[in-house]
């Protein structure tokens, strides 16, 4: 379910992502808010910031560097939903 949904980040110009090995910080210049991201979430956000609209499956493939299985896609979709709830991305 949901693997056909398209995700994108319309406000990419508002964001600054600083990555460190253990965790990263996303700054939202529009709201002044900070978001701590684990390495996987930061990697996904980095892809979204430089990508046009993508499916969860396509995003998972780029994140993992290989064909994702259903579990991988579900995990990526959960992170995308979290980003959506924080108003960082759109469907």
């Amino acid at each position: 379910m949901g693997q056909g949904q398209i995700w994108h980040c319309r406000r990419s110009a508002d964001f600054v992502l600083r990555e460190w090995p253990d965790a990263s910080v996303l700054f939202d210049d529009a709201t002044g808010s900070f978001h701590c991201l684990n390495p996987a979430a930061a990697g996904l956000m980095a892809i979204l910031l430089k990508s046009s609209a993508r499916s969860a499956s396509s995003l998972a493939q780029e994140l993992l560097g290989e064909q994702p299985d259903a579990h991988d896609v579900d995990m990526v979709e959960n992170v995308l939903k979290e980003f959506l709830s924080l108003n960082l991305i759109e469907q």
Partner: protein
């Protein structure tokens, strides 16, 4: 030409000037014009600002025009802080007048100075690199700061880091160290020769006294330096000293929480904080004994 200092002005002359035109005090990088008819303010200035330059009143650009004046005499004497003639705070007991001046001067900088990113923290320097210690009240920040200063660290500030967002350097703003309650006697015991200002009793923070900045820290007030360590201290009675590396990402967020004006500076402020974190190692530090703490800090490795 050698500039005049507070210690070079007689009691009578200083009293007269504070009551009339005021004195223009250079507390680098800021200039304050200070007026007060209250003897305790003069005594405090003489005790802890003795070696600060006093500049000409008529030909100096002043950042902040401040005063502490009497507010009421009965049923008990009060005083009030003024900036540009406005009174942003409710009056306090007259015995708190010098502490009120210090708090008011800090408030002026944190509220109006946005040429730097300001972070609530103690700031010290050793071997050309800066230690930033952000911490909430009660964490033992100022006590630890005073002890480190007495052990040879240079004081940049007991109250705030001034981060130059263009250069990434921390600019000193050495002003008296504010000590509270038991810390006053602890630090007096370690440095009987140190100069303290008037003691303010029963303030909202308890008993408060300010310790004079060491001469070397004042003499080097224009020497900015690169951050190397961000340490979040926590005092726990009798705890063994414990230093633990912590995440740079969470350290950045906590630094932002401790910043007075990151929200004003937006993206530039975030990027300055990120560069600061990049150049620094970040730690949590718990301690219960000052001598152990000093030993730990003396062995902090300089980040590569």
């Amino acid at each position: 030409m050698t500039s005049q200092t507070i210690s070079g002005i007689s009691d009578d002359a200083l009293t007269h000037r504070l009551k009339t035109e005021g004195i223009v005090l250079e507390a680098f990088p800021f200039v304050f014009r200070i007026k007060s008819p209250l003897a305790i303010v003069r005594e405090g200035l003489q005790a802890v600002y003795a070696d600060y330059p006093v500049l000409p009143v008529d030909s100096t650009f002043v950042d902040f025009h401040v005063a502490v004046v009497s507010a009421r005499r009965v049923p008990r004497p009060l005083c009030v802080f003024e900036v540009d003639g406005a009174r942003p705070f409710t009056p306090l007991a007259a015995g708190e007048a010098f502490a009120f001046l210090e708090w008011g001067m800090n408030w002026c900088v944190t509220g109006y100075c946005h040429s730097f990113l300001t972070i609530h923290s103690a700031v010290l320097e050793r071997a050309g690199r800066v230690l930033i210690m952000p911490a909430p009240p009660g964490s033992g920040k100022s006590t630890l700061c005073a002890a480190l200063v007495l052990s040879g660290w240079r004081l940049l500030s007991d109250e705030m880091a001034l981060l130059d967002t263009r250069t990434g350097l921390v600019v000193p703003s050495p002003r008296p160290i504010s000590l509270k309650n038991k810390s006053i006697d602890i630090i007096r015991g370690r440095a009987p020769e140190a100069h303290f200002g008037p003691i303010a009793y029963d303030t909202m923070k308890g008993t408060v006294a300010h310790m004079r900045v060491p001469a070397d820290s004042l003499a080097r007030a224009r020497e900015a330096a690169l951050p190397a360590w961000v340490v979040f201290p926590q005092y726990k009675a009798e705890a063994d000293a414990s230093l633990a590396l912590r995440s740079k990402a969470t350290s950045l967020v906590q630094l932002a929480d401790n910043s007075f004006n990151q929200t004003v500076m937006g993206r530039a402020g975030f990027e300055a904080l990120a560069r600061l974190i990049d150049s620094s190692d970040c730690y949590d530090f718990t301690y219960g004994r000052l001598d152990e703490a000093i030993e730990v800090f003396s062995n902090l490795p300089i980040p590569r």
